[in-house]
Amino acid sequence: MIRIGRRKLLKLSVAGAAAAGSRGLATILALGQAPAYAQGTTLHWLRWNDFVPASDEVLRRQIIPECQKALGVKLNIEMINGNDIQARTTSAIQSGTGPDVICALNNWPQLYAESVVDVSDLADDIGKAQGGFYEESRVVANDGKKWVALPWCILGAMLAYRKSWFEEAGYHAGQFPQTWEEYRAAGKKLKATGRPLGQTLGHTFGDAPTYTYPYTWSWGGKEVEADGKTVTLNSKATVDAVRFMVGFWKDAYDEGGLAWDDSNNNRAFLAGTISCTLNGASIYLEAKRKPDTYLTEKGTPMKDDILHSPLPRGAGGEFGYHLPMSNMVMAYSKNQKAAKDFLRWITSKEVYQAWFNSQQGYSVGATTVWENDPLWKQDPVMLPFRSAARSGRFPGYAGPADRHAAEVLSKYIIIDMYAKAVQGVPVEDAVKSAHEAVQAVHAST
């Protein structure tokens, strides 16, 4: 991992500001004076609590002081549980006061398109400078007319699994199950030995949608047609997917997953109660951070027994949904210009690099330039994440990731379809009820 000290970051910050190059920032920095707008300006940035604590430390200890030096802006970063960001956003918009910049997950920015500042100029510049945005980043932050948010990163979602346990079950290195049937068979063997697979089907922002959506697509299921209006969820492909899941859940999964949030599978995996789970790389990175704490049953560091793999393929193909994050500049903010300049500064390659490095591959960036970063040469276990975002589809497929898709996601309709079925609701009823709920969303304006 490349270490960047405070001095180096300062240099990079200045270079970043120069790279940002607009509105005379470089000139202002060269003169050593803060911009006129920035005298006493405080920017409030609302974010989630990162699953890689080192990245929050970089923001607090390095980015905040460098922002003050580079832009003359006092940065106030508030970090909360990712599941609470939507509630905070709604209350901020309705009350007309709150954070100047909010870092949204998934395609939530589509829900707030009327309440955010157009950041198309920023997105165009950053995209051009950094090899273009991933399609997933673009569709969640662009409503078809303008950029409603500036993409920040994509968190790769991969299966993290215990190498030795899969080997004991007969799946040696390079032979990880490639299809859902194979994965189910492996999970059945593992569960029989007290090492089930683990997966949340609960109301939570990350692991639940990044599992259920690609799972549905891989069977050929989809919410709507490409026109974005014709709801096609209730199809043979979806019914097959849900029916398979019912048996799969009983055969292979830890059935407590129905009540899990995004952190439960991390805890369960690190405690050695599950053998495999769809996750960002946070499990591996935590095991790597504390090699003496997280040990295998043999007493060896667990980090050496973890590998990553994409989700298996089904009749419809192999897909992933990797969690996108993007920053919205709020329309009620009195510091819109400062907020946009801040985003231009922090997403410039030179400044973003410090944060990207601290992620150690947990985040793959929002632009393709990060695939070529030397970071990927440091740890082969993280290599599957490098280009993961290229295989990503987005909620709302085959239609756009628009407001309707964001509403379907926020209501957890697809996730609940599976959760209901594994709880015993007849498969056809669970799919029909989800189909009607998606129809109701699309029927609304």
Binding site: A87, E114, D254, G256, N264
Partner: protein, 313 residues
Amino acid sequence: MAVVSAGSKSASILSRKRGPIGRLLENEWWLACLLLLPTAVLLGLFIAYPFVKGVLLAVTDAKVGIPGQFVGMQNFEALWHDGIFRVAVWNTFAYTAITTVFKLAFGLWLALLLNRDFKGKVFVRAFILLPFIIPTVLSTFAWKWMFDPTFSVINWILLHLGLISQRINWLGDPHLAMLSVIVVNIWRGVPFYAISLLAGLQTIRPDLQEAAAIDGARPWQRFWYVTWPLLLPVTMVVVLFSVIQTFADFQLVYVLTGGGPANATQLFATYAYQIGIGTGLLSQGAAISLAMFPVLLAVVVVQLLYIRRVEIH
């Protein structure tokens, strides 16, 4: 007579000395208005305004950041066809009814025990209040850990005692999840009942019990014919408050299950929050919230009428 004349004279002088405001306040009606003003302002700001705002939102198609147009009863019609809303309605009634019965029974039992003389009475009474004193979010987090699908201490104990062979899925099974939120609500609510009913018990004169005992009444008869009728008005008020709070409960369920699994523990408040605040469909969220109002109004009216009748008798 001379005294009266002197009094009238001095009152008349005082009246002349007072300004127009002073004279206005001589009028009881205006004085009453002035004294009521702070309360009226507070009620208006914090009760009436949000309520009216909620009603207005519920009849529009407002979304977060979009004021919306008037759509009449459209949101309520949509609720009628919403399966999750029906689950939330059923859950809310079941949750309120079951917890109220148990809270009343345990609370009354505890109050009767605490009303006796024993060593450390003050300490025990303070200790009993703990679940009620601890912030709900904090205590519910503790319960969440106890019901954790993987690390539940309850499961750990039962497994080690050999009473179960595999973990119980407390929060992942729809029925057990509902049972769990009910148990936690009862745990949290019993002290409120116990302390309130204890206060009621202490207002009952001991000589009534003694007289009944002398007349040969057994303990159960003394409770049923002496204690209970005298405790009933207090009980009704306590139940009234409790029903309102439980019916509109949010924190406990939100922290413990978030309404899951698959909406199995959604209540009015948690579902309204998910739709209105989480998804940003403000009008639909307001409609769900408002659906609670007629029920609560009916409960309040019936109970207040009953209390008045009991008091008259």
